[in-house]
């Protein structure tokens, strides 16, 4: 009798193993991302482990290279074939475009259960919501409007990190006279655009930035303020060294580190370079926001959740969404990647000084309504419009185009791209 029951049990176990019953479905999620190197890969792995610890089956679909271009091609093909992955690393207005195409899932139930509205700044909610419902989950926030400065080099001309653009120009002129490169910069279109948007924020102010770069108000784009912005860009061009075209951003960061140049304007991924070289914030380098009226330009990565079918997939997706915005993952991930959490209630103890400053600034900017999406990094604009901004900013920076001509080109290009 015992043997019979044993064999019966094993037969049952076997049949259960072969016919996965839907009621006992394991949460499962296929994740399409392009975080394949260094700290980013380690960060993704931490999410993978957390997901597995909750009984989930993670199907990894990394697409290396191209800064997301290659992934976008894969995603398009998968969606058109009717077989989208559960979660895809996309950001900014691309989320809205996919939502408009009807491809994204509604995360309202997870969001209300986890009370996302209370922990995310409104500016970030706008990015990941479509028609009032969450369709994507923010992973992190990178601040874009940073100056990375070498205090020793600045001290050579008796200067500190500038807090206004006039001061910036005065300091840069002094540095030039002393034979030091004031601004370390890489002449790639997106880097030119990064400097451009911080200048728009600084010279034009928060409202002007919102009108021109977010709402694409033609009067603002063609205004005298925009001419002033390009005037400042022309000055910035004088502060970079002649070898800047094509230089990668991390090489420019290294110039600041080695003391060849005094400052770099770059997002806080530059911090990773300093950290890797064993430099200490506040001592070997200074992180300060670029001059503006408490503005904060954010770049935020997120995972958009695509409409999947099957209970296991749906459960997996919900679990993944919950984990991504969970306090624990937001902390581990951002410590690894060097960014800051998208939610505001994560303990700050483990983070470095620059990150703590960034977290504090983000909260106060969110309260003061000065938290803005970056144009150069595909939050405020994407695709054609972003491309048009970048084209004009880079064409002006790399030629002797006048500010007036640049403004009229900008207006034409934005009209054409809309």
């Amino acid at each position: 009798m015992k043997t019979i029951s044993l064999s019966l049990v094993s037969a049952l176990a076997l049949s259960a193993a072969f016919t996965a019953t839907p009621s006992l479905a394991n949460p499962k999620a296929e994740v399409l991302h392009y975080w394949t190197s260094g700290g980013e890969a380690a960060a993704v792995k931490s999410l993978q482990e957390a997901f597995a610890a909750r009984g989930g089956e993670w199907v990894d679909a990394p697409v290396a290279g191209g800064g997301g271009d290659a992934q976008a091609a894969v995603l398009r093909a998968r969606v058109l074939a009717g077989d989208p992955p559960a979660a895809v690393q996309i950001k900014g207005p691309n989320i809205q475009e996919w939502a408009e195409a009807g491809a994204l899932a509604d995360l309202s139930s997870v969001a209300s259960a986890q009370n996302w509205d209370a922990v995310l700044p409104a500016a970030i909610q706008d990015i990941v919501k479509y028609e009032g419902n969450y369709v994507a989950v923010p992973v992190n926030v990178h601040r874009v409007d940073w100056i990375w400065a070498n205090p020793e080099v600045l001290a050579k001309v008796g200067a500190t990190v500038p807090t206004t653009w006039d001061e910036f120009n005065a300091t840069a002129d002094k540095l030039l006279a002393a034979g030091i490169i004031p601004l370390a910069h890489g002449g790639q279109p997106w880097q030119d655009a990064t400097v451009f948007e911080t200048v728009v924020l600084g010279i034009g102010g928060v409202d002007f930035y919102r009108k021109a770069l977010v709402d694409l108000d033609m009067d603002a784009l063609g205004s005298d303020t925009m001419i002033k912005v390009f005037d400042q860009m022309r000055k910035m061009r004088g502060y970079v060294d002649p070898d800047f075209p094509g230089r990668d951003w991390n090489l420019a960061t290294a110039m600041v580190m080695r003391g060849e140049a005094a400052m770099q304007i770059m997002g806080d991924w530059a911090k990773g370079e300093f950290a890797a070289a064993g430099k200490v914030p506040g001592k070997d380098y200074i992180c300060a926001s670029t001059p503006s009226e408490n503005g904060y330009l954010l770049n935020s990565d997120s995972f958009a959740m695509f409409g999947v079918s099957g209970e296991d997939n749906e459960q997996g997706q919900a679990l993944l969404a919950e984990l991504i915005l969970g306090t624990e993952f937001q902390e581990t991930f951002n410590l690894l990647k060097g960014s800051i959490p998208a939610r505001t209630d994560v303990p700050r103890g483990e983070f470095d000084d620059c990150a703590i400053k960034s977290m504090g600034d983000m909260v106060s900017a969110a309260d003061g309504g000065t938290l803005l999406g970056s144009m150069a990094h595909e939050i405020a604009q994407s695709g054609a419009v972003r491309g048009a901004f970048i084209d004009v900013a880079t064409a002006h920076f790399n030629s002797d185009m006048s500010s007036e001509e640049a403004v009229s080109k900008l207006v034409d290009a934005i009209k054409l791209a809309q």
């Binding site: 691309n94 475009e97 279109p189 054609a384 920076f397 790399n398 290009a413």
Partner: protein, 298 residues
């Protein structure tokens, strides 16, 4: 009297060539010509991030030709294409004639000149990027030798970047053109050359009046091969200048990639691809036409 019906095996044997060719023919028909037609259709729609099949007429082409980036790319294509083809043929031809002088170690030298062709454009581009970098490459070296005013920052200059592309592309392709010409030089009828030199013609005159004119078909093939290399150039730009400074050295293929895959402008990207196709066709069709017509007369 009726003929006996063909056996099945005979019928198959008779049709065998068609049967063997059919799969690749179908594949080419679908994947090449089918997608050309698809791209043509998409270029007349308002496709943005995803393909959209509602026709809107020639609006994408209008937008394309209003874009500053596109006019720069098109202008660069003509400058780059013309200079690249011309210089590669002149240098290749000259090398071939010099190698044809029955010199020692010809095989060795020929291999050296031909080798760049074995390298991909990405590597050529990267190597020349370093050579032309003002603070790493040739400029620093020459200045180190004492010529302080020497300047070679082509890749950093808005106006010169496209010539930097020409230089790297010619370096890569001139050896190939040389090989083409060398084989043609060798196949010229030696009796005619002997007869000419008996008549007292100088070697210079023999080359100019007899040998080069008899090589006309090779010139044509060289032009066609180099022209399509020029039109589809993409990787060289990516590696050497990244399209910059700004977008001063971008070419149509780079423009197409940028629009289609980065800017969610599939419609405009398709339109630019069609313009590139038309450019290739404008060169290839007359060539094929003259070639095929020539064959009939033989």
């Amino acid at each position: 009297m009726t003929r006996p019906p063909l056996k099945l095996t005979d019928r198959i044997a008779r049709k065998l060539p068609q049967i063997v060719v059919a799969p690749s023919f179908t594949a080419i028909l679908f994947f090449v010509y089918g997608f050309i037609i698809w791209t043509g259709y998409i270029s007349l729609t308002k496709s943005k991030m995803l393909p959209n099949y509602n026709l809107i007429g020639f609006r994408p082409y209008e937008r394309l030709f209003q874009m500053d980036r596109w006019s720069v790319a098109l202008e660069n294509l003509f400058v780059f294409g013309f200079l690249f083809i011309f210089t590669a043929i002149v240098i290749g031809c000259l090398l071939a004639i010099l190698l044809d002088q029955k010199i020692r170690a010809e095989g060795f030298i020929r291999t050296i000149y031909l080798y760049p062709m074995a390298i991909s454009f990405i590597i050529t581009g990267t190597a020349w990027k370093w050579i032309m970098n003002p603070s790493l490459g040739l400029e620093t070296v020459v200045r180190g030798w004492g010529w302080e005013s020497f300047s070679f920052g082509w890749t950093n200059s808005e106006t010169m970047a496209v010539y930097a592309l020409v230089m790297a592309a010619v370096w890569q392709s001139a050896g190939f053109v040389m090989a083409l010409f060398l084989s043609a030089l060798r196949s010229v009828d030696q009796d005619i050359i002997k007869a000419a030199s008996l008549d007292g013609a100088s070697p210079w005159r023999i080359y100019l009046r007899i040998i080069l004119p008899s090589m006309r078909p090779v010139f044509m093939s060289a032009v066609v091969i180099l022209a399509h290399l020029a039109i589809k150039s993409f990787d060289l730009v990516v590696a050497l200048t990244g399209g910059g400074p700004g977008y001063a050295s971008t070419l149509p293929a780079n423009f197409m990639y940028e629009m289609t895959f980065r800017r969610n402008e599939i419609g405009v990207g398709a339109a630019s691809a069609m313009v590139m196709l038309a450019t290739v066709a404008a060169i290839m069709v007359p060539y094929l036409y003259s070639e095929l017509r020539g064959k009939k007369h033989v």
